[in-house]
Symmetry: C2
Subunit: 570 residues, 2 copies
């Protein structure tokens, strides 16, 4: 239910928000500069009250089989066809608004939001994020049953971690919008004549209507940076979710609209553009002249199409990639295997950061347990995965469920990609009988072989042990794969400083974040808000980083006015 504040209450309401949130905002601003560890919201589900999970589940259950409660411009019908990867239809339908209606409403909502300025906008955005934080258990259920993530992961990645990415982008946006004075007196000496004095005002103006195109596997985590970067810089945002993962973003849109309305803004600043049965609204919206910003996560095909066919918009994309880890040597063989096993297993490898290719020199790996041939390493890694996933309850808590049939079909085909070292197993979920749960498959390939399935993204629980001639070839393959196929993560294991230095050089040249010798509780596929830059814009996997200055700076422009200062004094 949307409550519009009375006009006379709006000013104090907004001031209250600024006062409430400026410390959090400034903590976040300090954190993005310092890049150390900082957390705005607890990631432990238990920190959200004893009854938090039950209340979240009740809120989630209340949506099932009903029309989602969202009032927005231009609604012409209701649409929805989500099915939980854990095996049941959600039956939720969402308001479907006409394209013209949504665009007109979004554009009309902008001026007062623009004129409210960076402080108020940042405060309102942070209020939205904190309201979302309170609903993290509700979001966790929604994320779990649209993505297939296990509950704790859905809670963390879909809740506080996504919210922190939102806060990070708000902090970057605030920094960029306030990096210069709002006004200045320009006084130029003129020798003996009186100096020239001009009063200048510099206003932050948004680009216009922004669009955020969400993905199936991380509907909130991948959408929030763009959503909040665009919103904080004064734009209106139309959220186009994956048809398989609408609910988490519908909850997000509804929460944003409530906060905006309470602060006296037009809630159509944030709207939902759900796809009807056979619609592809992403391309329909993206080519409209009103749409000036597009944030996209998804397939490379559509991402590249957007990059090339929407010249009226600034486009931020995260696309497919092939992430590599070079294994050269280690002083902690068990730790390395356990670390890699967890990375390959987490959410059945359905992450843009999961390692696909483990590149090993043919001569083997020096370890604290002696030299290991590529075959031995592959078998030992398979063993580590088996060990990690031997207990069904633990396994399902790590693996979650397979998000969609595309991934399942790819997994079924994967035996033809090389020599299967570890076959994927189906696991019966103890709670959800119809859940599709699969363990990772590990496939050995020769890096010089003709068939190179490992050089295409095989999204899902499919990884390769790729044997190459030597360490140089391994690092070269990491670089080439990144430059050619894109990558969001890269890793190296080596006890040799020269190899680590060369790996850093290769990663720098190819433009990919490098993790070295991870053997403990940090994983190559994890990216911490405020510290790790997620993606680089330097390779085909993404044309932007979530989040850096370039991710926010082009979402607004500065419009100045100037007049002689005696004019303003009269």
């Amino acid at each position: 239910m949307i409550v519009r504040a009375a006009p006379d209450a709006i000013g104090s309401q907004r001031l209250t928000l600024v006062e409430r949130h400026h410390e959090l905002r400034d903590h976040a601003r300090a954190a993005i500069r310092q890049r150390g560890y900082w957390s705005a919201f607890p990631e432990n589900p238990n920190a959200y009250g004893d009854s938090g999970e039950a209340e979240g589940k009740a809120a989630f259950d209340a949506y099932l089989g009903k029309e989602f409660p969202l009032t927005q411009a231009g609604v012409d019908t209701h649409v929805g066809s989500e099915r939980s990867p854990f095996g049941f239809e959600l039956g939720v339908t969402y308001p479907h608004s006409s394209t013209d209606g949504l665009l007109a409403a979004a554009a009309a909502a902008i001026p007062p939001w623009r004129d409210a300025g960076p402080d108020v906008r940042a405060a309102v955005c942070i209020e939205i994020v904190t309201q979302l934080n309170k609903r993290s258990h509700e979001l966790a259920h929604a994320v779990m049953h649209t993505t297939g993530q296990a509950y704790v992961m859905a809670f963390q990645a879909g809740g506080p971690h996504a919210q922190e990415r939102a806060l990070e982008s708000i902090a970057f946006a605030y920094d960029e919008m306030t990096r210069h004075a709002e006004s200045a007196i320009w006084e130029k000496p003129q020798g003996k004549r009186p100096s020239l004095r001009v009063n200048k005002t510099f206003r932050i103006a948004p680009r216009g209507v922004a669009m955020v195109i969400g993905c199936n596997t991380f509907p909130t985590w991948n959408a929030y940076p763009g959503l909040f970067a665009s919103l904080a810089t004064g734009n209106a945002v139309i959220v186009k979710p994956s048809r398989r993962a609408v609910l988490p973003l519908a909850i997000t849109v509804a929460a944003a609209r409530d906060v905006l309305a309470e602060a006296g803004f037009d809630p159509d600043l944030v709207t939902l553009a759900a796809d009807g049965e056979s619609e592809r609204r992403a391309t329909e919206f993206a080519t409209r002249p009103e749409v000036k910003l597009i944030d996209y996560t998804g397939s490379s095909d559509l991402g590249q199409w957007l990059e090339r066919n929407t010249p009226q918009a600034v486009v931020f994309t995260e696309k497919a990639g092939v992430n590599s880890v070079v294994v050269e040597s280690t002083s902690a063989y068990e730790g390395m295997l356990d670390n890699l096993a967890f990375t390959l297993s987490l959410y059945s490898g359905q992450m843009c950061t999961t390692t696909q290719n483990l590149i090993v020199p043919r001569t083997g790996i020096d370890t604290d347990q002696g030299r290991k041939s590529p075959d031995e390493f592959a078998r030992d890694l398979a063993g580590a995965i088996d060990g990690l996933l031997s207990d069904t309850r633990r396994a399902t808590a790590i693996l979650g469920a397979i998000a969609n049939s595309d991934i399942l079909e790819r997994l079924d085909r994967s035996a033809s990609f090389g020599t299967t070292i570890l076959a994927s197993r189906a696991i019966e979920h103890p709670e959800y009988a119809h859940a599709v749960v699969r363990t990772p498959t590990l496939i050995a390939v020769d890096g010089e072989a003709e068939l190179q399935f490992h050089l295409e993204e095989q999204f899902g629980p499919i990884s390769f042990v790729v044997t190459v001639s030597d360490t140089s070839a391994a690092l070269r393959l990491l670089g080439e794969t990144t430059s050619r196929c894109g990558a969001i993560t890269a890793g190296v294991y080596s006890t040799n400083d020269a190899v680590l230095a060369e790996a850093e050089r290769v990663a720098l040249e190819a433009g990919v974040a490098l993790s070295e010798n991870l053997t403990d509780g940090v994983y190559v596929n994890q990216s911490a808000a405020f510290s790790d830059f997620h993606a680089t814009s330097a390779n085909p996997a993404a044309n932007a980083s979530l989040t850096d200055a370039a991710f926010v700076a082009s979402r607004f422009h500065v419009v100045q006015s100037r007049r002689p200062s005696e004019e303003t004094e009269k």
Copy 2:
């Protein structure tokens, strides 16, 4: 002559540059935040020594009829066909390097430049700018005789003002590159277990090879922001000048190469890509995969082509536009007329910031000299222009010469654009008998008429007095013209606060810088470095501002590496 420093001297040479220039750098950084008046380099030609102008002329003369002294990679021939708008052939030829040769050399030069880091790069860039500053008289002659600017303007716009725009972009680039820590220890608490500690390093990596496409009329002023923004962020820069204005950028490239070589860097970090007789190298280079950044000033056709056909590159364009000034009322009629007359006359209106359309309500203008009808205003403005240009020596010092035959032909056609209020006159230049000097023409049109030549850019000394029904229609036309045709400047004259407020709103919506009630020594066509944002990216005249954060932030990316901190301590 390029002197390569001995390797053992390089470190101290670079340190010296950092020490020499960090104050200037930090002054510039403060200036771009405060946006008041600040000048790094004197704009008065007399401040550069008694013999400055003569030495500059001698240096310029020494180039005429010769091969320009520039040693760079891949030279296969020499090319050049510049003719001074003041009426003589320059006869200078420039090294023509193969596309493959230039691209390979540029790419190979990058790694040590990248690894030198933001401080050294900023210092080297500032050293280049200060070396250029010392050669301002030489550059002034080169700019004068390629653009047609009169000497003092060529000196200021081509010399110190362009150098200040360079310094401004270096300051923005430095700020963005250093906005976060270079390294951090990420230490995450783990309850009772030992905390996770990871050492992280964040490196600034350039995009790759950058290209700067210069224009005929402001070869240095428009090229320097992109050139130095790309160079300071670690890229190599290939400079593709207009075939009509090579010399100013050849001098710039040579100066940059000297400084780079002295600091121990590969001078092929900055190279010249001169066009041969029938070549169009802009499009040839721009579609090469190595080219990751393009800065362009010129026609809308090529600008839009670049925006749409170079998906591998980030493209910054400044294109055509139609600048408007609404004249509603004034308390200083004479001052207003004089101010407008100077704007229309300066450099014969051959500026991207010159007002093309003076929009007047049919009901006339309230002034301190009574109400003036549109006709009276047009005649009075014509009189002010005539008065300003009555003395030939003064006239030629303001007008300069017509840069090229395209502009002259347009001027010849302009009588058919409407009712001529003031015809363009040819003026004989007292020093250059063959110079093509023309005064502005002023043409009256009905804003509701069918033929709308005033809604296309008529680059050169062609302006329109456009009559519309009332003040609202005038402001609406300003907004619509800006949104549809693009604009870099806009102006309004009014004594009515409500009209000024509405003009500000219209300019904000359309995204154009607005000047109000300029009657003294500040002109709508002038843009001061460190204070005025030149262009906005919000309308078709430009997709970027020279210079703001968005202009620099996407020229580099951040590549991180991380390893458990015990690893780094061993």
